[in-house]
């Protein structure tokens, strides 16, 4: 059997099963599971049905106290020192109860990623220690725009990108102007990783990653999007009007933003696949419990062959999705640049099966599955959302196909 787990984590290949994680990750898994059950679950139904602008800072603070806002930060900055596999395991646990809660923390880790990738001790000292203070702090990644989505992710598309946020160089500073859309945590984040195009570069060919504190003059937080799912986390616009950013807040140099973003994305996709896996698991758990207690024809539902077949298919899909994200996360934890193939495959599969499992679970519960009070339909709405961010199935298919035809590297 191929080892999918990090050799550094003291697990022999003989010990590797679907449920055995290295001790430190197992401990994280159980800790986050307890948080999800004890803190998140009692709040989920009310939060999901609250107005779009409602945000539960108390829950976020409790997650922060647990270290969920700093999982990947180096220990020297007070972080957890976990890799992407650790994040993925935590995301599955959170998403099995509430995907929106998972994304609050996941989006923060995504916003931090350019700071880590910068390799710049000054930027790291400026932005990272705040996540280990007593007060919960969030970050966000601001790339998507109204007219530009995948044009900011695919290098060959960059010259065709339209209306991209601009960065005009003035002395040792840049002046940012433009709007970002659908930005998770934008309403409350402390700082953002912001992608803007250097003036004079066609399309997004001069895309550059800037670290911008969101209390900088000229930054405005726009209206919160009224979403179908993921209502526990807030997505909104970020508006930049003549925002002056010092040149030393650039990550990776002028015009390198698209590559920084691709790297971030390939790291993140393994964790988003874990969120989809968690959503599927959450829906499955409700269906499994229902099929055990609901008696029809004198026996529990799960003893009916049609139901048994459905439950077995659902369980198989979830296990397969989990194995794929573990493989992807482990490769991402062991390679720079992160591989494009495994994370894209994991997300493509997990996104699909989460919708399928949520739908099957709803059919098993019948009318109850359609009622908001049972919490099952939330998993369906969230599953559809996960299919969009960090790569739609169409974008993932392009990434997978490109990798299939790529020549082997000689590392």
């Amino acid at each position: 059997m191929t080892s999918y787990l990090d050799e550094d984590l003291d697990v022999s290949p003989d010990e590797i099963t679907l449920t055995v994680l290295p001790p430190r990750l197992r401990e994280l898994q159980l800790t986050v599971r307890a948080f999800a059950e004890e803190v998140v679950r009692p709040r989920v139904l009310a939060l999901d049905q609250a107005p779009a602008e409602h945000f539960d800072w108390e829950m976020v603070q409790l997650g922060h106290d647990l270290g969920l806002t700093r999982l990947t930060l180096p220990v020297e900055h007070g972080g957890g020192g976990y890799g992407i596999l650790g994040v993925a395991v935590a995301m599955e646990e959170l998403a099995s109860v509430c995907a929106g809660t998972a994304l609050i923390f996941g989006a923060t880790l995504l916003g931090q990623a350019p700071v880590l990738l910068s390799a710049d001790p000054v930027l790291q000292a400026k932005y990272l220690p705040r996540f280990s203070g007593p007060k919960a702090v969030l970050a966000c990644n601001a790339i998507t725009e109204d007219l530009a989505g995948c044009d900011l992710l695919i290098p060959d598309n960059a010259e065709h990108a339209a209306g991209v946020m601009s960065a005009h160089k003035v002395g040792d500073t840049y002046v940012l102007n433009g709007r970002k859309r659908f930005i998770t945590n934008a309403m409350f984040a402390d700082f953002a990783s912001v992608y803007a195009n250097i003036d004079g570069s066609p399309g997004a060919t001069g895309l550059t990653c800037f670290l911008v504190p969101l209390d900088t003059p000229g930054v405005h937080r726009g209206a919160v999007a009224n979403k179908m799912g993921y209502r526990v986390c807030l997505g909104s616009e970020l508006i930049f009007e003549d925002v002056v950013v010092p040149a030393d807040q650039i990550v990776g140099g002028e015009g390198t933003g698209i590559y920084i973003n691709i790297q971030q994305m390939n790291m993140a996709r393994a964790t988003v696949a874990a969120i989809s896996t968690g959503i599927a698991r959450g829906a499955f758990t409700i269906a499994r419990d229902w099929a055990r207690t609901r008696i029809q024809g004198g026996v529990p539902l799960h003893q009916h062959q049609f139901t048994a077949r459905k439950l077995a298919e659902m369980a198989s899909k979830i296990d397969a999705a989990r194995l794929l994200y573990i493989r992807a996360a482990n490769r991402v934890d062991r390679e720079i640049p992160p591989p494009p193939y495994e994370p894209a495959v994991a997300k493509l599969f997990a996104d699909r099966i989460s919708v399928e499992v949520a739908e099957e679970a709803m059919t098993l519960l019948g009318a109850r599955g359609y009622l908001r009070d049972y919490g099952l339909e939330k998993f369906m709405r969230d599953a559809l959302g996960t299919r969009i961010y960090e790569g739609t199935p169409e974008i993932l298919a392009l990434a997978v196909t490109e990798a299939i035809y790529a020549t082997d590297d000689d590392f």
Binding site: D6, P114, A119, P121, I260, E335
Partner: protein
């Protein structure tokens, strides 16, 4: 046209660079505490350096290393000269790493003394590009 005239010149420059880095107290302390070892594999000219708290060994490709870092010698020169930025080099695959990414991200900022010292070392070795 490559930056280095010979393997000997490149090995001399990069061995000296990492030996000096190991003399940096912050770096060497962290290397020791983390039990970190690096295998630097460079091409054109081709050679490998094994770097650990025990020192720098040339063309040792059998001793296990926690991190393997691979790049061309020209890219190595551009990197340490400050012409090639680390985030871009890593994102585009000009530098490739196998091993614990967490450790790599943790140790990158500690490499700063190497950036400070490299230009002089290269100059003294007659590297002119």
């Amino acid at each position: 046209m490559t930056v280095f005239d010979s393997k000997e010149q490149a090995v001399g420059v990069f061995s000296q660079l990492f030996e000096l880095l190991l003399q940096d107290e912050t770096f060497s302390t962290r290397v020791r505490e983390a039990g970190l070892s690096l295998r630097l594999v460079q091409s054109k000219p081709d050679f490998a350096l094994h770097i650990s708290n025990d020192g720098v060994r040339v063309d040792d490709i059998t001793t296990p290393a926690a991190l393997t870092i691979k790049m061309s010698s020209d890219n190595a020169h551009a990197l340490w000269s400050g012409q090639l930025l680390m985030p871009l080099a890593l994102a585009t695959g000009k530098i490739r790493v196998r091993g614990s990414v967490t450790k790599m991200l943790e140790f990158q900022p500690l490499l700063q003394p190497a950036f400070d010292r490299y230009p002089q070392i290269a100059l003294e070795a007659g590297v002119t590009a």
